[in-house]
């Protein structure tokens, strides 16, 4: 596959150990170990740069700030999202796996519960990521947004599940056991 001329790439520059935020109007975007490096796109080839660009735009259009965290010691979505939520000043987070699976989480919920879950990574496109950002920001403001409509394609499983498992195995190899979450600055550049 040839890349479009203006394809964006994402770099996550490490700032330092992730700390609990104090701003009540922030959303933490927590990503899994292989996000942006070595993986660069979701299971259906949405570039990670585009995923982050849309999520951040969705958060900012609600007047809420975003902070990004990379989680190193797990590739479990609920865990990634819950770690993000516990670091978030508002208690709201968006958790993301490299293949695109996404969850909006809240600090006070049980880890395996969630505000919104988008389990079918092959169905998540740029527009959905923007709406996820927007909804998370609205939760952070204490609002009750209508959930992002859940897409449901019953044939995604036979088409994509085994590939997803392969991607996850590769992501698992990027886990650094015991390494604490790191605050990162997203830099999106055109190649």
């Amino acid at each position: 596959m040839t890349a479009p001329a203006a394809e964006r790439t994402l770099t996550l520059n490490e700032i330092g150990p992730a700390k609990r935020g104090s701003r009540p109007d922030e959303v933490v975007v927590a990503v899994s170990p292989a996000f942006a490096d070595p993986f660069t796109k979701t299971i259906v080839d949405v570039p990670h740069a585009e995923v982050i660009r849309q999520i951040l735009a969705g958060i900012e259009e609600q007047g809420v700030t975003a902070r990004m965290v990379k989680v190193w010691d797990t590739a479990d979505l609920a865990a990634v999202a819950h770690i993000g939520a516990r670091l978030s000043g508002s208690g709201i987070s968006i958790g993301l796996l490299s293949r695109g699976t996404t969850m909006i989480h809240q600090r006070d919920l049980a880890r395996l519960s969630n505000l919104e879950l988008f389990p079918q990574s092959p169905l998540l496109d740029a527009e959905v990521f923007r709406r996820i950002g927007s909804n998370a920001a609205q939760y952070a403001k204490g609002e009750s947004p209508a959930p992002v409509p859940t897409r449901n394609d019953q044939m995604a499983r036979p088409r994509w599940q085994a590939k997803a498992a392969l991607l996850h195995l590769k992501e698992f190899e990027c886990i650094v056991a015991g390494r604490k979450p790191v605050e990162v600055e997203p830099v999106i550049s055109r190649r």
């Binding site: 395996l112 209508a146 449901n152 499983r157 088409r159 085994a162 590939k163 498992a165 996850h168």
Partner: protein, 564 residues
């Protein structure tokens, strides 16, 4: 396409366009556990017992046990018999499984003392027909049954109720719902219960949720049983699921302490899907799950890969492994709700071939979720079978003379129970001061196929109503009262009868379901007594007459007409 690409034949183009080529297939990667059941990386069988305690299991010493080894060694395996049982050659045990002259009890007894690797060693000797032969004998309940999903892409409670009623009438013994938006749960759990009891008294319902919430709905008597109690074959994945064998065993007792039927869920592929199979084959890890479930004393297990079916489905021999895991659950004397509950293939032919190893021998629940709604409305992400397959299913039952738990029902009867379910739910919502259901919505429910055929609901108001169900502490008893006050006396009686079952605890026994007369049918009073040709469950008599009926059958008496 570029000019340099080699030319394909027209036949290749036709084959390329066949649905099966939309399915995903991957190579095996045994080092990472991406392999069905034949892996050089699985341990060799072995057991050593000292002072009545297992000190070595499948080549691992007690000091090195992970928590699954510990739990299995201390709770699942009959230690006193272990060394002798494991010394029996695997081929002899495999032959006992297949040979009708070896009784079920005898085969169960030896199974109680085997280690996970030994069990794997036995089933690896069996081909898929032998696995089916064994399943026919080892299924715990004599009479096979089936389970349905009733969900809605819009989380529309009226749809869930109407499709639950139709499903119950068609023969499902259990109905299950889940949500797109989790906060809707209480409303859909109510809709499923009311709709189910309007369709056929005694159908059992559940709402798949996070463990603690699922238990709470069960304790309140809004649901009748629980199933989404997931267990995993490696310690790290178990912990990722936020549980341990001890928390799950405690949960099993918690359900039983409230008189609520419960089974665990597991399946091949979940560990590799979650990224940590520790280099073991899918079936080896699933056997650990099955043994953990037995050790916890839970009566049954939903397995057959379940939500991970795309993983074993993508590797060589994967569907044979799935048939084997159902067999092992039954062999370990557990109720088995045997999968066939997730979208599996684009190919109708492949969907059917995946189903036969459970449909032909019969299992406790052939599907642990046949979609009683159109697949696009199935919030378990689609099932292997859906409402559009009803007539095919009924025809397969009639062709092969096998009982898959369903039957053909005349349209007039279906419309009647759909309306009754929607009206009953309308009354309950009104009595409990929940979001109103309009007559227009009821009418839509009678004739609808999928969620697009219903007027849209006010989602935010519904979610508020759902929260109020939790805040106000509404229970199953409140539903009974609301139905009675609303003029649905028979539905109220049905639900009260289901709630009364808790007091007796009869539904806690292995493989229990309720007949239309509210008689519990389990592996005690309906124990599988298969002993070869002419024995065990046979599709005959009144039930066979029911299954001879299809939508279009030409009358023998008057060939110018049809009977149905």
């Amino acid at each position: 396409m570029t000019a340099t690409q080699p030319r394909s034949s027209r036949r290749t183009e036709i084959l390329e366009s066949r649905p099966v080529n939309l399915d995903g297939f991957v190579e095996e990667w045994p080092e990472k556990g991406l392999v069905a059941m034949e892996s050089d990386f699985d341990p060799a069988p072995g057991v050593r017992v000292e002072d009545g305690r297992i000190v070595e299991l499948d080549g691992r010493a007690r000091a090195d046990f992970d928590f699954m080894d510990t739990y299995i060694a201390d709770h699942a395996i009959d230690a006193e018999a272990a060394e002798a049982a494991n010394a029996v050659p695997s081929v002899e045990i495999a032959r006992m499984l297949v040979d009708p002259r070896a009784g079920r009890d005898e085969v169960v007894a030896i199974g109680r003392a085997l280690t996970p690797a030994k069990i794997l060693d036995v089933v690896k000797l069996m081909n898929v027909v032998e696995i089916m032969m064994a399943m026919q004998k080892m299924r715990a309940r004599r009479t096979p049954a089936n389970q349905a999903h009733s969900t809605s892409a819009k989380d529309n409670p009226i749809q869930v109720a109407a499709d639950a009623a139709e499903g119950a009438l068609r023969g499902f013994a259990e109905l299950e719902t889940t949500l797109g938006v989790v906060r809707y749960a209480p409303l859909l759990a109510i809709a499923l219960q009311v709709g189910g009891q309007a369709g056929r008294g005694g159908v059992l319902t559940q709402c798949a949720l996070e463990e603690a919430t699922e238990l709470e709905l069960g304790m309140r008597g809004i649901t009748a049983y629980a199933e989404t109690i997931s267990v995993y074959g490696t310690e790290s994945v178990f912990v990722d699921g936020d549980d341990t064998p001890w928390s799950k065993a405690f949960l099993a007792s918690a359900y039983a302490s409230r008189g609520i039927k419960m089974r665990f869920t597991s399946g091949t592929g979940s560990e590799v899907q979650m990224g940590n199979a520790e280099g073991r084959s899918m079936l080896y890890l699933e056997i650990r799950c099955i043994l953990m479930a037995r050790g916890a004393g839970v009566q049954g297990l939903q397995n057959g890969s379940i939500s991970c079916i795309g993983v074993p489905g993508a590797v060589p021999g994967g569907i044979r492994a799935v048939a084997a895991e159902n067999l092992i659950a039954s062999w370990m004397d557990l109720e088995c709700a045997s999968g066939n509950d997730q979208s599996f293939s684009h190919s109708p032919m492949r969907r059917t071939s995946r189903l036969l190893p459970q449909l032909l021998p019969g299992t406790d629940f052939v599907c642990s979720g046949y979609s009683a709604v159109p697949n696009p409305d199935n919030m378990f992400a689609g099932s292997n079978l859906d409402v559009e397959d009803y007539d095919d299913w009924n025809t397969m039952q009639r062709d092969l003379q096998v009982d898959g738990g369903l039957r053909h029902v005349r349209d007039s009867e279906i419309l009647q129970v759909r309306e009754k379910a929607a009206r009953a739910l309308q009354a309950v919502f009104a009595e409990l001061d929940l979001t109103p259901i309009s007559d227009q919505e009821v009418e839509a429910a009678v004739y609808a196929h999928g969620s697009e055929d219903y007027p849209d609901r006010d989602v935010l108001e519904d979610i508020k109503a759902a929260q109020s169900v939790m805040d106000r502490g509404i229970t199953g008893l409140d539903l009974v009262k609301a139905l009675e006050r609303g003029g649905f006396h028979d539905v109220a009686e049905n639900l009260l009868n289901v709630l009364r079952q808790r007091v007796s605890g009869d539904l806690l026994q292995t493989s229990a379901i309720l007949t239309g007369d509210f008689v519990p049918l389990s592996a005690i009073n309906d124990a599988n007594d298969y002993g070869g040709p002419g024995s065990g469950y046979r599709l005959e008599g009144e039930r066979w007459e029911q299954l001879k009926k299809l939508r279009h059958v030409t009358s023998a008496e008057n060939p110018e007409t049809e009977v149905s």
